[in-house]
Amino acid sequence: MDVSGIMDSLRYRAPWQKVARVILKNQGFHVGQGWDDTLPDIDALHAVGAADAAKLEDALIEHLIAGEKSLQFYSASRENLDWLLATARKSSPSKHELVSIFPGILPEPALAVMGDVPPKFCKIIDTDIGSALIFVASRAYQKRVKLSPDSIKASVAGDLEFDSIIGIINHRAVVYDAIWIPADAEFAVVLADYPTDVTTDFPVPSHLALRKFLSKQLKEDVEASNLFESVATLYGAPDGDLVELGFITDDDSVKHLKARQGKKSLRKDSYHSAGSKEVGESLQPFRVAVRWGRKLSSGLTSHPELLLPGTSRHIFGVNHLLTEAVFRNGLNLGDLGLIISKLAANI
């Protein structure tokens, strides 16, 4: 794939500030203010050597596997997982066009002609830390966009004036899902695509399809693991910055705190520290997000974030399972490995 196509795919997929610019810098590319200031001209793209282009393509594929995902964990014996991997290595990729152009993208009109495409097996990638079965799909979703009130004022009857006008676009996206099998682990992780601008139900069709795939391959009905125990583990752990927290105490209120803007952890937040000291063990967390800093070989840092999106129902409810984890700002499989290591103990 040429560098221009790789850049288009990266622009299509990766959050700019925390992911795309770090990937490009890490690969030695010039990075300016935003894409327009960064994309090299055609001559510069032609000058990129084949080896550098291949490295950038590998970085893109790692991001397509690990970036912006909803995670579900499935326990399985190592023997069954090895068998699943061996079968996948012998399987031919789907002949679907979305698979044949991977990791490239198709323009939206071409996707619209195809309609919804369920996850199609694309390829398997083996690394030292695990193997990934990659699937490609396509799905439509609604996107809210803010419009300038001035631009449509003339078409509104009467004297109505709007401060804000919201439009809804039916947007169609290429969806990248994966099944990640960490080396030596006794579980598989389904990574359902979950871009930043979609609604919370977006990953559901991918989770359903890949759970069905796993059940078929492992010849048993698999159920996603309950991750709720990890909420308290992550809250109590000393590492990473706690950037979101939902909790209850013995008061009649549900508390939510967020601290993504700065560099401080909620664990050091003076309001939360004083409050948690006051209420002691009656503080019960149900939702946490933790952000880690991971040094890359180039000296740059990635900031993968893991959210366990529980609600107070997970505390009050009976048999109310938390089966989903949300992984944001992941650059590559190293970030994925870090996130999984934080949950593995409770799987």
Binding site: R11, P15, W16, Q17, K18, A20, R21, Q33, G34, W35, D36, D37, T38, R144, V145, K146, S148, T196, D197, K258, R260, Q261, G262
Partner: protein, 134 residues
């Protein structure tokens, strides 16, 4: 203060009041958030008062003062739940320039009419903090 002869008497008084408020906030454990509206509340002024606005801007921009450092928070228009993303020094410099621009940290694309998406706030300048601790 002869070099500040361009200031009216009201402006001089307002600057003194602001410096007093800033100094006491700096010495306090609870500094609060230094927004235009909070600085107005703490000095008993109104945000729309040109004397107040001139004085805050003077304390942030004038080379003889520079006790306040202006920072910007970006509220993504496509994310109604945005809590505001602090812009770094380079992004702030581009946004405040006369022919400035702002790149959305999420998409990497330039934001149309970006001035309505950013909100200023202040922090003590290094000069002020050095003075407070020196």
């Amino acid at each position: 203060m002869s070099e500040l002869a361009f200031l009216s008497e009201r402006e001089l008084l307002m600057c003194e009041k602001l410096i007093e408020v800033i100094s006491s906030r700096l010495a306090s454990r609870a500094q609060g958030v230094w927004t235009y509206s909070n600085l107005a509340k703490w000095t008993g002024s109104k945000v729309g008062d040109p004397v107040f606005m001139n004085c805050v801007n003077l304390l942030a921009m004038h080379p003889d003062f520079r006790v306040l450092e202006m920072h910007l928070l970006f509220f993504d228009p496509e994310d109604p739940e945005s809590d505001g993303i602090p812009l770094d020094d380079e992004q702030t410099a581009h946004a405040l320039a006369a022919d400035g621009f702002l790149v959305n940290p999420r998409t990497g694309d330039r934001v149309q009419n970006y001035k309505s998406t950013i909100v200023p706030y202040f922090k003590p300048s290094k000069r002020l903090e050095d003075g407070a601790h020196g």
